[in-house]
């Protein structure tokens, strides 16, 4: 039977993730309320504005149920804002920014800069058994620190010629996967990160 993969549909690029889920052979389900969590095998937290999604999670009483479900093993994949929302700690968050906080990572928000610094770049995904993909980074976060139980799967370098630093942009902790970039907004190719999530992380 096809897996039912939810997309948290409070705000953000929900439609793109739904398309990627369907093209990866699963059924896409919109998740807006607590009861929607009961019928899904896995969940994607989309790109969007992390402060907005975080507030709506709290207001519509989804934050604690999500924490519970993910802690109990609901497979979850967060992209960009979704990565921030999974992070235990956020650097440069808004005042009092709340997250689900189930993943043992410290994320720097808007780490690569403002929108004029947003970029795309070819990224090697051999660690997840995929080829390279054009990764699109939009006001993107990076993982500044991770716990020993978190596996770094892809990195990019930033900085100037005299000082280059490497930053983790794709990581997995058991049944949780987080990406700084947006594999969902590419068109006309396979969604290999979604396939990996559905096949491996949510197996």
């Amino acid at each position: 039977m096809k897996k039912r993969v939810g997309v948290l549909a409070l705000q953000g690029d929900v439609r793109e993730h739904s398309r990627a889920i369907q093209q990866s052979g699963a059924v896409s389900v919109s998740v807006k309320r607590q009861e929607d969590l009961a019928s899904i095998d896995a969940l994607i937290i989309p790109g969007g504005e992390s402060t907005t999604i975080g507030k709506l999670l709290r207001i519509f009483e989804l934050l604690d149920p999500l924490k519970k479900s993910i802690s109990e093993g609901l497979p979850v994949f967060g992209t960009c804002a979704g990565m921030i929302l999974l992070a235990k700690d956020v650097i440069d968050g808004s005042h009092g920014q709340e997250t689900i906080g189930t993943m043992d990572i410290t994320v720097r928000r808007n780490a690569f800069g403002r929108q004029v610094d947003s970029f795309e770049k070819s990224l090697d995904l051999s660690n997840i058994g995929a080829g390279s993909l054009t990764a699109v980074f939009i006001r993107a976060p990076w993982i500044e620190k991770q716990g020993s139980n978190v596996q770094a799967l892809a990195s990019v370098e930033s900085g100037n010629e005299s000082h280059r630093e490497s930053h983790v942009v794709l990581a997995r902790q058991d049944r949780q996967l987080a990406a700084s970039f947006h594999p969902e907004i590419l068109e006309g190719q396979r969604y290999e990160v979604h396939e990996y999530f559905i096949r491996e992380v949510a197996s």
């Binding site: 953000g12 907005t52 507030k55 004029v116 795309e120 006001r139």
Partner: protein, 295 residues
């Protein structure tokens, strides 16, 4: 491959991330913080909200850079700012300031009555207004990475926003029902490039995100625009010209997310205090209507 900035994917992608959200006009850091706390996905930094531009008259221009920077320092969400139609030097300044999106806006006094800004020349993405599909596609052809349907800004009267979002989505639906050999004439009639017309006919949507703006003042207005096919809403004067901006801002955010659930919209509509008083668009003489600027 090294990093490439300012690509169409990066510019249009930024707007995709704003979908389902509310972008609010703010004139200072304090308002920007209220907007962020209420759950706005971005703020539009400007010196005067449209209602005041309308009341005070005179030439409306790009905001003072220090005022924009003050707002950038105050919040962590994206900051947008307005340039006059065709005023590419204002846009160059806004790009240097690092604003996240430029609104080439009819709310300001136009600087060029023939040409819009050549937006392909910029790394920063642009949003432009449109009253119909042809206008939207002309702006996209010039490099706009996001479209907002125009309403009559600064009025609190939602009727023009309704007209224009219906017009744009209606014209899109019409294209999807046409035979392929009819699209050439459709492009001629829309005064838009054939390639974009064909793309819209095939996909049934604009190639960029479509928000709506102008006259939205209540959670119900936001819900209606979303139900009519908008990807999100801009609220200008409607929030900070109302009795209780923080409550109203938060209510509009919730109503935009749960636009299709009248119970939620009813719940958040309670006890918001006075909405902006507003002006009926029909009482504004035609030469003073902002939505008609743009060509």
């Amino acid at each position: 491959m090294s990093e490439v900035t300012g690509t169409s994917r990066v510019k249009r992608g930024m707007a995709e991330m704003l979908k389902g959200g509310v972008i609010m006009d703010v004139v200072n850091a304090e308002q920007a913080k209220i907007a962020e706390d209420a759950g706005a996905v971005a703020v539009m930094a400007l010196e005067r909200v449209p209602a005041d531009i309308r009341a005070q008259g005179g030439v409306a221009r790009m905001s003072d850079p220090s005022m924009i920077e003050e707002i950038q320092r105050a919040v962590s969400i994206p900051v947008m700012a307005k340039a006059r139609i065709g005023h590419f030097a204002e846009a160059q300044i806004l790009q240097v300031l690092g604003v996240d999106y430029i609104d080439e806006s009819e709310v300001l006094t136009p600087a060029d009555y023939e040409n819009h800004i050549d937006k392909w020349n910029f790394t920063v993405p642009f949003v432009c207004g449109a009253t119909n599909l042809g206008e939207a596609l002309r702006r996209i052809n010039e490099g706009a990475a996001m479209i907002r349907s125009k309403g009559e800004a600064g009025t609190g009267d939602v009727s023009n926003a309704t007209t224009h979002i219906r017009k744009i989505t209606g014209e899109i639906r019409r294209l999807t029902s046409m035979r392929e050999d009819e699209l050439y004439v459709a492009a001629k009639e829309l005064q838009a490039p054939y390639a974009l017309v064909k793309e819209v006919a095939e996909t049934g949507k604009l190639p960029v995100v479509l928000f709506t703006a102008g006259g939205i003042a209540t959670p119900a207005d936001a819900s209606m625009m979303m139900q009519l096919g908008a990807d999100g809403v801009f609220i200008g004067s409607g929030i900070f010209k109302s009795g209780n901006p923080a409550e109203r801002a938060s209510a509009c955010v919730k109503a935009t997310t749960f636009f299709d659930d009248p119970k939620v919209v009813a719940q958040v509509s309670r006890g918001l205090g006075d909405a902006m008083v507003g002006i009926n668009v029909s009482d504004i003489p035609v030469p003073h209507r902002l939505a008609e600027r743009g060509w």
